[in-house]
Amino acid sequence: MTIGVRTRNGARVTGGLPMTGGVAHAPSRVTRTIILGVIGLIFAIPIVAMVEFTLRKGLEGGHDFSRWITLFQSGFTGAYRPVIVALGNSLALAVGTVAIVLLLLVPTMLLVHIRFPRLRRLLEFICILPITIPAIVLVVGLAPVYSVVSRMFGSGVWTLAFAYGITVLPFAYRAIQSNIDGVDVKTLTEAARTLGASWANVLARVLVPNLRRGLLAGAFIAVAVVLGEFTIASLLNRINLQTALVVVSKTDPYTAVILSLLALIFAFVLLLLIGRLGSGPRARSVKGTP
């Protein structure tokens, strides 16, 4: 086993260590391809099965696109109109939940980070709590709460956003907190305040641009979770995208699978966009706001 050369000025030893991309003992390209290939293939099977299912013609066998064509040609009228309504509900809920995350969670996280650092563990505990108290348990106690909520805010589906904000807390918190930890928020705020910025300016022109990555990641994860949420909506008898899909699947499983495929593709594109947008222009030094 060669140890490698240490240069005279004591530079870091790299020789002799099998390195890939700067990581020691990483698998070779061949191994990586095999492993990822096998796992990828196995994971692709259900997706392929979904596609094959939607292409089936019926009892006679054979495959064609007739089901896709009928669905799109009918323009989602008639039997499938409820799905469009439900999708609208889900999108409205997503907007509401993102609002709660951005307007309620983020200021609190910043406040704790800047002003009350000793409360950070408590905030972290609260935000991780919804994992320990899963939606199925929460919903048992949400029904009485929602009878009061509906009296105050009316009966729109959007009131579910309050409950969704809770279920989204762990994911959003982790995404935003990692960003806050990476950016020196305290110094930035102090600098901005010294230069005479009001708190509103500090938030809008100093903090938000720097935290954009975490905020976007948190927001998009919230959207993904809300679009896929079923438990609370179903057990509180509200209509959202997932409950509508289940209703459709009882009468027409083929359409349900087509819609699921579309929803999965949409979510995948959405999350790809997070990856892109989030890693946009690197955090530049904003000591002096432009």
């Binding site: 020691a24 009350f116 320990t132 939606a135």
Partner: protein, 298 residues
């Protein structure tokens, strides 16, 4: 929160007054969490201790000892444990395979997005996917039957009961493992590998003596997280299983729906209590392991 701007008036408030003012800023979030997390949880747990007339009773909680409920908990346990272990192992292997790829490269970004989608997005659609794959008329079922003459449903249709949940659960456990375990693998310091090489060790020694021990807390922590994830999962089961309540979340569904007929009031509350106890134990273990793991990442 704007405070009387020093630029305007030059007056400074005392720090304790400012502190109190800032504390009010915490109020909206506190109220929100109280109303929509604390209150429902207390109601969910609390109703298990009261019967319909409002008087305290331990009978409903004692109903958790009913053989049907115990079997349900047992089913939930083995299902969650099995899928957690398989998901953790497969996920760890996948993470290993991703070691050394560029974090911003197309492969990683795609896999991150895919993992994000599959881990969080909709048990309902997963249920449909698996009905299309191994359902009674599923693609794989028909393929196995026609090509190999193997009828996977020879001994009963298991896909619509607890065993049928294994494959869908693994399908979202593996991506969750990739998401949670990758940071730990990435935190393996190159200096350790160098130290290993300097002391004459090879790849085997590296992994056995350094890699596995360091990664063990993270791995176990992620395993516990996967267990908790499967235990509390409802949507996939609800979409697949239309009759019967083989796991605890489905039992809660049945208790909430048939409350009028089951003759046992507030069973959902008792079940919720049982679930929270299990989840609390698991998540405490998880956080202990996480802080253990964090020691290595400093």
């Amino acid at each position: 929160m704007p405070r009387p701007c020093s630029a305007k008036s030059g007056r400074q408030l005392s720090s304790s007054v400012r502190r109190t003012a800032a504390a009010w800023g915490l109020l909206p979030f506190a109220v929100y969490v109280f109303l929509f997390l604390a209150v429902p949880t207390l109601i969910a747990i609390g109703t298990g201790f009261f019967d319909n007339t409002g008087s305290f009773t331990l009978a409903t909680v004692a109903a958790l000892g009913d053989p049907v409920v115990l079997t349900t908990f047992a089913n939930s346990f083995w299902l969650s444990a099995l899928t957690a272990v398989v998901g953790a192992v497969v996920g760890a292997i996948a993470c290993y395979a991703l070691l050394g790829t560029r974090p911003d490269g197309p492969l990683r970004v795609t896999i991150d997005s895919l993992s994000g989608v599959l881990a969080q997005f909709g048990g309902v659609m997963l249920a449909f996917a698996f009905v299309a794959t191994i359902g009674i008329q599923g693609m794989i079922t028909i393929y196995l039957r026609d090509t190999f003459g193997v009828d996977i449903f020879e001994n009963g249709v298991w896909i619509y009961e607890a065993p049928g949940l294994i494959l869908p659960y693994i399908y979202f456990q593996v991506p969750l493992m990739i998401i949670t375990f990758m940071p730990a693998l990435q935190a393996l310091k190159p200096q350790w590998a160098e130290a290993n090489a300097t002391l004459g060790g090879g790849a085997a020694t590296y992994w056995l003596r350094i890699g596995f021990p360091v990664l063990a807390p993270s791995f176990l922590g992620s395993l516990l997280l996967l267990f908790a994830n499967a235990f509390s999962s409802y949507a996939t089961a609800a979409a697949l299983v239309s009759q019967g309540s083989q796991i605890v979340p489905l039992q809660i569904r049945a208790a909430l729906t048939s409350e009028t007929l089951l003759g046992r009031q507030n069973l959902a509350g008792a079940l919720a209590l049982g679930m929270i106890v299990v989840m609390a134990v698991v998540m405490t273990g998880y956080s202990m392991l996480q802080s253990r793991a964090a020691r290595w990442q400093r």
